[in-house]
C-alpha cells in the first residue's frame, strides 16, 4: 500500500502541471496512467504537431511541452505508475483507497482526475461474432511473439505497428497483411521492407480489404475478408492481429458515483471538486459553465484543485498563499539555491 497525499489519474500536461502545484504547496502525489509513457494525448496523438496557445510559449510540439513539464516537476521526484489503470476507489473513514488493474494499492486523502477523454484502449474489429476469440486468437497487442511460431498470422492495419509486426513475424510465421487501402502510412523504410518481403513471397499482402467475418469453433479457423467491391476472399489463419491505433474510453471512472454530463464530470469552479468529497477533476474531463478544452485552462484548474486538496491532506493546518518569486519555503521545495 502506497500512502500519499493526492493520487493523480492521468499523466497528460494537466496532470503534470498539477504535480507542480501540489509540490509547491508541500503535498506529495503519485500519478497513474494507462499509457506506457508520460504525456497523454500530447504524446500519443500529436507529439510532432505544433501547439500555439501555451502562454509565453509561442510554439512548441506536444513532445516538447511534455518534456518541459517533466523538467519542471523533476525536483519533486514523483512516482509514475504507467501501463496501469485505476479500477476501484473506496472511501474508508477519511481516506480514499485506490486499486489499479495491476493490483497496485494507494491510500490518499484526495484524488485528482486529469484523465482527458479517458484511458487509451486499442481499437477493436467492428465484427460482432469475434468476442469469444478476443484475447485468444484475435489480439490487439503482442505480449509473447513465440506463440506465433510456425503459425499463420493475419495482420490488419496500415501503420507502423502493423508493418513492424508483419516484418518481424515473417521470420517465423506465415504472415498475411490486410489493409483497407493501397497506401500504407508507416515509415517509408518499413513500407519498402514489406514490399520487398512481398516480392520475395515472404508476406502475402491484400489491400482494399477489411475483415468480413470469422469462422471457427473453439479456435479461429478461417476468416473472410471483404474487398471494397464487395467480393470476398477466404483465408485460413491461426491468429488475427488488429493494429488500428488507440481510442479513448472513460472506463471505470463511470462506476465511481460521480455525476456525469455526457463524457465529462461536472465540477465547481472554486476548487474543481466533483460531487464526491475529496475527488477533483481537471482538464478535458471536467465541465462547468464556460469550460474551454484548452491545456492552458487545465493548468489553472490544476492550480486551484491542488489548493483544494490541501485541507484533506493537512486538516489541522491553514493553507497560506505564497509566490514562487518571494517565498523561501516554496523556493526550498523547488530546490532553488539562493
Amino acid at each position: 500500500m502506497i500512502k500519499t497525499d493526492t493520487l493523480i489519474i492521468g499523466a497528460g500536461p494537466v496532470g503534470l502541471f498539477c504535480v507542480h502545484q501540489l509540490g509547491i504547496i508541500g503535498l506529495k502525489c503519485e500519478v497513474v496512467d494507462n499509457l506506457d509513457k508520460i504525456g497523454g494525448q500530447c504524446i500519443e496523438l500529436y507529439p510532432d504537431k505544433p501547439i500555439y496557445d501555451i502562454p509565453a510559449v509561442p510554439e512548441c510540439t506536444g513532445e516538447e511541452l511534455t518534456n518541459n513539464l517533466i523538467e519542471q516537476i523533476k525536483v519533486f521526484k514523483t512516482n509514475f505508475h504507467l501501463n496501469e489503470r485505476v479500477e476501484e476507489i473506496k472511501k474508508v473513514e477519511k481516506k480514499w483507497l485506490i486499486k489499479t488493474n495491476k493490483g497496485t494499492e494507494f491510500e490518499a486523502s484526495s484524488i485528482i482526475i486529469a484523465a482527458g477523454v479517458g484511458s487509451f484502449e486499442p481499437r477493436k474489429f467492428p465484427t460482432k461474432e469475434i468476442e469469444k476469440y478476443e484475447g485468444q486468437q484475435i489480439l490487439y497487442s503482442i505480449k509473447d511473439k513465440k506463440i506465433f511460431k510456425d503459425k499463420t498470422v493475419t495482420i490488419f492495419g496500415g501503420g507502423d505497428s502493423a508493418l513492424d509486426w508483419a516484418i518481424e513475424l515473417s521470420n517465423t510465421s506465415k504472415v498475411i497483411l490486410v489493409h483497407r487501402r493501397d497506401e500504407f502510412r508507416g515509415m517509408q523504410a518499413s513500407i519498402d521492407k514489406v514490399n520487398q518481403l512481398k516480392d520475395e513471397g515472404k508476406i502475402e499482402v491484400h489491400t482494399k480489404y477489411q475483415l468480413g467475418s470469422v469462422s471457427g469453433n473453439e479456435k479461429v479457423e478461417s476468416i473472410n475478408i471483404k474487398h471494397d467491391d464487395e467480393s470476398i476472399k477466404k483465408i485460413k489463419t491461426d491468429y488475427v492481429l488488429g493494429f488500428f491505433g488507440l481510442i479513448m474510453q472513460l472506463g471505470p471512472i463511470t462506476e465511481w458515483g460521480l455525476n456525469l454530463d455526457k463524457k465529462t464530470v461536472p465540477v465547481n469552479t472554486e476548487n474543481f471538486e466533483t460531487n464526491k468529497e475529496g475527488i477533483f477533476a481537471i482538464g478535458d474531463i471536467c465541465t462547468y459553465p464556460g469550460k474551454l478544452k484548452l491545456i492552458l485552462s487545465g493548468f489553472h484548474e490544476g492550480a486551484l484543485a491542488a489548493r483544494g486538496c490541501f485541507k484533506y491532506a493537512k486538516p489541522d493546518e491553514k493553507y497560506r498563499f505564497e509566490f514562487t518569486t518571494s517565498s523561501k519555503t516554496v523556493k526550498n521545495r523547488l530546490g532553488v539555491k539562493e
Partner: protein
C-alpha cells in the same frame, strides 16, 4: 444558414442549420446529435467524428488533406465515402449536405 442533415445509424434524421465556418462535427456536437464523439475536439487526431457522406455529395466536397486518410484507417468500419466531420467546413456550397453516422465510433 446552410442546412446539414445527420442520419443516425438507427435511421433517425436530424436536419440542422449550421453557421458558415463551423465544421460539420461542431454542428453535430453543439446540437447534441448522438454518435459523433469528437474526442480530440477537432484536431484530426482521433477519428471519432467519422461520417459517411452521401454518394452524390462526396465529390462536391473539398478533397481530403494529408493526414485525414491516415486517421480514417483507424475509424470504425470506414468505406470509400468516409470523411472526418471535423474536416468538413460548412459553407453555402454544402447547403443540404447529408452525412450518415456509423453505428459507433470505436
Amino acid at each position: 444558414m446552410p442546412r446539414i442533415t445527420y442520419l443516425e445509424d438507427n435511421g433517425k434524421s436530424h436536419t440542422i442549420e449550421v453557421s458558415n465556418g463551423l465544421s460539420v462535427m461542431e454542428g453535430a456536437v453543439q446540437n447534441d446529435i448522438p454518435g459523433i464523439d469528437a474526442d480530440c475536439g477537432g484536431g484530426m487526431a482521433c477519428a471519432t467524428c467519422h461520417v459517411y457522406v452521401k454518394e452524390e455529395w462526396f465529390d462536391k466536397l473539398p478533397k481530403k488533406e494529408d493526414g485525414e486518410e491516415d486517421m480514417l484507417d483507424m475509424a470504425f468500419e470506414p468505406n470509400k465515402f468516409s470523411r472526418l466531420s471535423c474536416q468538413l467546413l460548412v459553407s453555402d456550397e454544402i447547403d443540404g449536405l447529408t452525412v450518415s453516422i456509423p453505428s459507433k465510433q470505436g
